[in-house]
Amino acid sequence: MMARIDENIRNEVKNVVYNFFADECEVDKASINDQTNIIKDLDGDSLMFLELIEIFKKKYDLDIELKTIGKYAVKHPVSTIGQLIEMQMLIIEHENRLLDLEK
C-alpha cells in the first residue's frame, strides 16, 4: 500500500537528512540548505546515500530493494540535499514500485 506523504513526514525526512549530513560531514547544520551540493560542498559520497536509505528503511519499515533505488538513481541522479530529500520521499511513498514512476 502506498504511503501517504504529509507535511509531518516531509519535515521529519528533512530533519533526518540535515542532521545526518551535519554529523557525518562535521559541519554546522545551519550551513546546510536544499541547494547544498553533497559531494562538492560536503565531501559526501554514495556510501552516505546508502546509509541514509538504510536509516529510512528501518524508520518507515520500507519494502524496497537497494537495486530498485539504484536503477532509479541512475536515471535521476542526485547532487543536492534538496534532490536527495525528494528522492527519499519518493522511496517512502512508492517503495518497490518506485520504477513504476518511469512507465
Partner: protein, 308 residues
C-alpha cells in the same frame, strides 16, 4: 591487561591519505617519523619522505603498503603504551601484517620483509598483465555472480564486506565491464581501485611456493592477543597457523562481513581502527550488531577508557 570487548582492527593500505585524527595523539607524528626512518633504511626506500598532504606515495603500491603497515604499528604501540590492550585483533586484507605486529607475532622488521617479499612474488606472477580490484555496493551475491558469469567468469569475488557489498579482483577490462553492467543492474556505488594487483584471488595462487618458502624462514611467534582470520574466521593460535594465513592471504578470498560477525559474537562491542583512515568504520555502518567504532584519538578521549 587486555580490555574485554575491545578489538583492534587494521585496514588495508590506503586509497587516499587524510591528515586525520591519529596525528593528534600525543607522540604519533614523532613515532611515525622515527619508524619511517628506520623502515627506509631497512627496505632501502625513501619512506621518510612520506607526506600525507602531497600524497606522494599513494600511487606506489609497495610503498603505500609499507606506510599503512607503519601507521598501523604506530597506532598499536601508542594505544598499548597508554594501557589500552585489545582482547582481540583482526587485519583487513594487507592489514594482516600490522595485526600480527600488534598481537606480538611478528616484529616491525619482519613485517616489512614480509610485505616486500609478498609484493615481489605477486609482481613476478602478474607481470605484463593488467589487473585491479573494484567494489560494488547495492547488489546481492547472486547478482554479482550473474555479472561475473556474463562478463568474465575468471573474475573473482575477493572479499565480502556485507550482504550487499563486495570487492572483486580480475583483469581491468573485465572489471570495467562489470562496473558498467552493475550500474545498469542498480548498483548504488561502484569504484575501481587504484591497485594494480588482483589481491585475494586465485590469480595469485602462483605466489604460494615462493612466498611460502620465505615465510617458513622468518621468525613468527605465537600471537599473544587472539587474532581472527579474515579468511575462515578461526583464531590463529600457533606460528604454523600464522604462517599458513600469511601465505593464503594473498590468493584466498576474504570475508570481512563474517569476521565482523564473529568478532561481535565473541563479545566485542568496541572496535578501534588502528589507522589514520576510517575505512573499516565506514564499512561497519552497514553491518548488524550494536558495536561502536573509534579512531585511536576518539578511543583515548572516550569515557569508556578512563585510564587514558
Amino acid at each position: 591487561m587486555s580490555a574485554p570487548g575491545v578489538a583492534f582492527v587494521f585496514p588495508a593500505f590506503a586509497s587516499d591519505y587524510k591528515e586525520d585524527q591519529p596525528h593528534l595523539i600525543q607522540g604519533y607524528t614523532e613515532l611515525l617519523r622515527d619508524l619511517l626512518r628506520k623502515a627506509s633504511d631497512q627496505v632501502n626506500a625513501p619512506l621518510y619522505r612520506f607526506d600525507p598532504l602531497t600524497k606522494n606515495f599513494l600511487d606506489h603500491e609497495l610503498f603505500n603498503q609499507y606506510i599503512s603497515f607503519i601507521q598501523g604499528c604506530t597506532c598499536s604501540i601508542l594505544l598499548r603504551e597508554n594501557r589500552l590492550n585489545p582482547g582481540m585483533v583482526a587485519g583487513y586484507s594487507m592489514g594482516i601484517y600490522a595485526s600480527l605486529f600488534d598481537s606480538g607475532s611478528i616484529t616491525l622488521e619482519t613485517g616489512l620483509e614480509l610485505i616486500r617479499n609478498a609484493y615481489c612474488e605477486i609482481e613476478t606472477i602478474t607481470k605484463d598483465q593488467n589487473f585491479s580490484m573494484i567494489s560494488v555496493i547495492g547488489l546481492c551475491s547472486d547478482d554479482i555472480h550473474q555479472l561475473i558469469d556474463h562478463v568474465d567468469p575468471d573474475t573473482e569475488i575477493s572479499n565480502r564486506n556485507g550482504p550487499f557489498s563486495f570487492v572483486l579482483s580480475g583483469h581491468v577490462s573485465s572489471l570495467e565491464d562489470i562496473i558498467a553492467k552493475a550500474k545498469e543492474e542498480g548498483a548504488i556505488h561502484t569504484h575501481l581501485f587504484t591497485v594494480h594487483q588482483p589481491y585475494h584471488s586465485g590469480f595469485l595462487k602462483g605466489t604460494e611456493p615462493g612466498f611460502s618458502s620465505f615465510v617458513n624462514k622468518v621468525h613468527v611467534l605465537k600471537p599473544l592477543t587472539p587474532i581472527i582470520s579474515v579468511i575462515d574466521q578461526k583464531e590463529l593460535t600457533s606460528p604454523e597457523q600464522v604462517r599458513r594465513e600469511l601465505v593464503r592471504n594473498l590468493f584466498q578470498p576474504l570475508d570481512w562481513y563474517q569476521t565482523h560477525l564473529k568478532l561481535t559474537a565473541l563479545g566485542n562491542t568496541v572496535f578501534i581502527e588502528c589507522s589514520p583512515l576510517n575505512t573499516l568504520s565506514k564499512i561497519a555502518r552497514f553491518l548488524p550488531g550494536n558495536v561502536k567504532y573509534y579512531s585511536p584519538l576518539n578511543a583515548m578521549n572516550s569515557p569508556l577508557f578512563p585510564d587514558f
